[in-house]
């Protein structure tokens, strides 16, 4: 558990994390806080009050120009033409075989301008892929990942925390901001982009802010603690929160060889829009039927499922656990598994936990859903 690796990247908030007493680990080449107090306490804080996450390791790519919409349509699976300025959508970059290069959020900032948020570990791969397909389009693609810090403010009191530090002129915009939309707003004195999105299953916001504003905004958010109950939250609870909400984690739940139809995000695939990379493969897969799919599972017996464990169905190996953990809010243990497509809700599975087969049940996704999001 070394945190002195010179080649590791640091977010602008690294020193703040150390000052908060964070346990720091390396994650995808970044030194990130895994927890400040305890994963379970931080998880609970987000479900009941509010937490702030430093997610500055995430990447941002801007696509601008007369053919921006046509280009985003070409490289992503969701229908970006449906987006009005200020709206965003979950989507993915696919390869020709329909495999997911990355999942991402596409925001439309203007008629000819899109802002795409990508996963930290895929920053270089995505930018290279996007650039390599941009040549025949009249657009400009910029990797803005180093310019932006990103903070996620998540939980039932997140609006309260945000209202306390946002410019009064922008309050009504924030209060009216619909789910997945994005707006410019002055937060703690500087212009930022605020999106109503998140990775926890709670009501919340993701703030894109200039990297040199990160410390000021971080401290301002923590300064609302007496009213909002906000606490800093590390990657440990980020993972248990997203798992209960059944949000996919790239590299664990899916990769370049997994199609969105298999990964349970077919709702974000628009096969009726004009051609896009990977469409042909998905049309074919849809016609032939998928061989595997993601399901949620809950353990009936003792034991915690973990990534890579074999899953048995009707006595035969039928897949593997993609993500597993204790489920702090739901109770017990569970997760997600990629299994044979014949598996249906309420089926009994067995998870091979270090050589012992433990019973689990297939349950409806998500494992947890908030009353309001």
């Amino acid at each position: 558990m070394s945190d002195t690796n010179d080649t590791s990247l640091k977010t602008p908030l690294y020193h703040q994390h150390k000052a908060c007493g964070a346990k720091v680990i390396e994650f995808g080449g970044w030194l990130m806080p895994v927890s400040y107090t305890s994963v379970l306490a931080e998880h609970k804080a987000v479900r009941e009050k509010c937490g702030v996450f430093d997610v500055s390791h995430m990447g941002e790519v801007r696509v601008k120009g007369p053919q921006a919409e046509a280009f985003v349509q070409h490289i992503t699976m969701n229908d970006a033409a449906k987006l009005k300025p200020g709206q965003g959508q979950y989507s993915a970059l696919l390869n020709e075989s329909g495999g997911m290069i990355d999942d991402l959020i596409v925001y439309r900032l203007g008629v000819d301008e899109f802002f795409i948020c990508i996963n930290a570990a895929n920053r270089a791969k995505d930018f290279q892929w996007i650039s390599s397909h941009a040549k025949s389009f009249n657009i400009e693609v910029t990797n803005e990942s180093d310019r932006w810090a990103q903070l996620a403010v998540q939980g039932p009191t997140s609006l309260e925390a945000m209202l306390a530090i946002i410019d009064p002129a922008d309050r009504s915009t924030l209060e009216a901001l619909p789910y997945t939309n994005i707006a410019k707003a002055r937060v703690a004195g500087r212009e930022c982009l605020v999106a109503r999105t998140g990775y926890t299953g709670e009501h919340g916001y993701e703030i894109y802010l200039p990297a040199d504003h990160a410390e000021k905004l971080w401290l301002a958010l923590l300064g609302t603690a007496s009213k909002s109950g906000i606490v800093p939250v590390g990657l440990g609870a980020r993972d248990t929160l997203r798992l209960e909400a059944c949000y996919l984690l790239y590299g664990n739940d899916m990769n370049d060889e997994t199609t969105p139809l298999e990964a349970g995000v077919a709702w974000a695939v628009k096969l009726n829009k004009p051609g896009f990379i990977g469409k042909e493969a998905l049309v074919q897969q849809k016609a032939n039927g998928t061989k595997q799919k993601i399901v949620a599972l809950k353990m009936k017996e003792d034991g915690i499922p973990r990534h890579g464990m074999t899953v048995y169905w009707r006595g035969e190996p039928a897949g593997f656990v993609t993500s597993g953990s204790v489920l702090p809010t739901v109770g017990g243990a569970g997760g997600m598994a990629m299994v044979a497509s014949g598996v249906v809700e309420n089926d009994e599975l067995e998870v091979d936990i270090r050589g012992k087969r433990k019973l689990a049940t297939v349950v409806k996704r998500p494992l947890y859903s908030a009353k309001t999001k």
Partner: protein, 123 residues
């Protein structure tokens, strides 16, 4: 951090009591692991050699093996920590013992509390 002087310690962060041959994990290990959410321990009667895995301790993020500090036969398993693994965080020593053994042969390669403290300070 507290490392009782009446125990001996391993590099894998187990402690063993020479008085009653109870075995557990140290406060340092608990701090490194974070929230303890699951523990697996062997059946009473099982015989295990020095260095063999006698179970696992699991935090929200990781699973770690537990290793026998000495060879011996399991004569008791702490059912209370199996039921509430989080209790280890409050007390990894007195009520937080994991197994009790009937030792076979001499214990070798164990550290005193003072040596163990120096060992973890170097991490």
């Amino acid at each position: 951090m507290n490392f009782p002087s009446e125990f001996k310690y391993t590099k894998d962060h187990e402690w063993v009591s020479s008085a009653d041959s109870k075995i557990g994990v140290t406060a340092y290990a608990i701090e490194q692991l974070g929230d303890i959410v699951h523990i697996e321990l062997p059946e009473v009667g099982k015989e295990l050699k020095h260095g063999a895995s006698f179970g696992t301790i699991e935090s929200t993020k990781t699973v770690s093996d537990l290793y026998m500090p000495v060879s011996g036969k399991i004569i008791a398993v702490n059912q209370a920590v199996l039921k509430s693994p989080e209790s280890l965080q409050m007390d990894p020593y007195k009520n937080g013992w994991l197994i009790q053994i009937s030792p076979v042969g001499e214990a070798t390669g164990l550290m005193s509390a003072k040596d163990y403290e120096t060992f973890v300070a170097g991490h």
